[in-house]
Symmetry: D2
Subunit: 138 residues, 4 copies
Amino acid sequence: MSLKDFFLNDKFAALAGCELLDIRPGYATARMKVEQKHLNAAGGCQGGALFTLADFAFAAAVNSHGRVTVSVDSTIAIHKSVSTGWLYATATETLDHRKLPFCIVEIKDEEGRLIATFTGLAYRFPEDDPRNKVLPTL
Amino acid sequence: MSLKDFFLNDKFAALAGCELLDIRPGYATARMKVEQKHLNAAGGCQGGALFTLADFAFAAAVNSHGRVTVSVDSTIAIHKSVSTGWLYATATETLDHRKLPFCIVEIKDEEGRLIATFTGLAYRFPEDDPRNKVLPTL
Amino acid sequence: MSLKDFFLNDKFAALAGCELLDIRPGYATARMKVEQKHLNAAGGCQGGALFTLADFAFAAAVNSHGRVTVSVDSTIAIHKSVSTGWLYATATETLDHRKLPFCIVEIKDEEGRLIATFTGLAYRFPEDDPRNKVLPTL
Amino acid sequence: MSLKDFFLNDKFAALAGCELLDIRPGYATARMKVEQKHLNAAGGCQGGALFTLADFAFAAAVNSHGRVTVSVDSTIAIHKSVSTGWLYATATETLDHRKLPFCIVEIKDEEGRLIATFTGLAYRFPEDDPRNKVLPTL
């Protein structure tokens, strides 16, 4: 199994309609088409849906080095309400740290407008942790 | 329609299995049962699912004053991985500001352990904004 | 030396005029009088001064258990501009975690108005780390 | 007075030894030499000192468009402890929004290592607000 296929196992991302487009060392892109199911009570895309898309791209980027890496602290600033159309998330690991790496994700719409900015501080399992074996190599 | 019923219209929260339990001025509680559909590729509850639960309780708490209030900047620290069981979110608006209110949400499991802490800065529509009419009174 | 006196060695907090008032397990309070030296170019108390006060109370609270604990990710929401008067910071460690504890700090003015909310995720040194010896017991 | 000189009036940034190097539309750089006065009780540069440097560069970047812009929500992830040497902050406004702009600041040391990442959501005064007059043009 490729690392990209491994992320097909993210059931919540799948439920939200997120699709991983690209994964490279410290970098990943994903997309999601905003539909009725993503809307909150006021009719805009729910913050949780935007967060899920960003978190999915983040997870792919920070898990691209062969060690399981989990989110410990994330922020999302939502710049613009959306209620339809494709959203694209680009995750860039700005610090490939052995213990606490850091990653910035930008979500843009089809016109390239910045919709949300996500930052994530992650915790990376030690090199000898047997749980790292679940990760396919890139 | 009651304000509590209004939040039944949050389709993404419903998709994630979130249920609003209580809503009062500046305060709300919600719950979600972690199931297979919430898990990420590594088998833990996806950060987006936790965020959705917190954001749902947050939205109820900050929209309890008759003015539409949307998230602009949120953070979530995930303290413990979970893969099953009920999660309870308690949202407390610590600042009922006319423009930029602030709210803290704690997610705990059935044993009362702190699973995640969410903070949200929100933007509140001006009093005379016609869009406030969508909100039922508490 | 008491743990409280240990924090007199925080030179930057001293430069900013921060004073530790109380320190107990997982809890601390500090204060700072806003003066000319704290103001930014627009005449309000600089965000860095507010952050320093909050971070100082945070450091006291999370270092109260005999293990060196450093900040890894912090947020500060500034709710109100201030330019004079005493500010009081109250730090509450809401999660006394062995590795990544979490703490919330509220800054209030003399009238008890909420001026800023700080959250801090910290990294705690392992129990057997020799650097823990620098910390006096509470 | 130039806009760059206007920031000489930031008394707290001056107290912390911060120096504005460059300011352009939506962009600024600043530096600070870590000295004894910046150290916390454990001997590392205090988080508040790092925050002050980042916030200073942030303020210059977001106030470069002729409208007063204040911080409402900021985060700082501290990646590495430092106790000496020059630090350089680079602020990039990734969203020049009329109301709630967003800015990312990276702090690096003399060797170009990433020391801290700051993000700031700001509130921009309306175009007709008389307080905008305090700002010199770029």
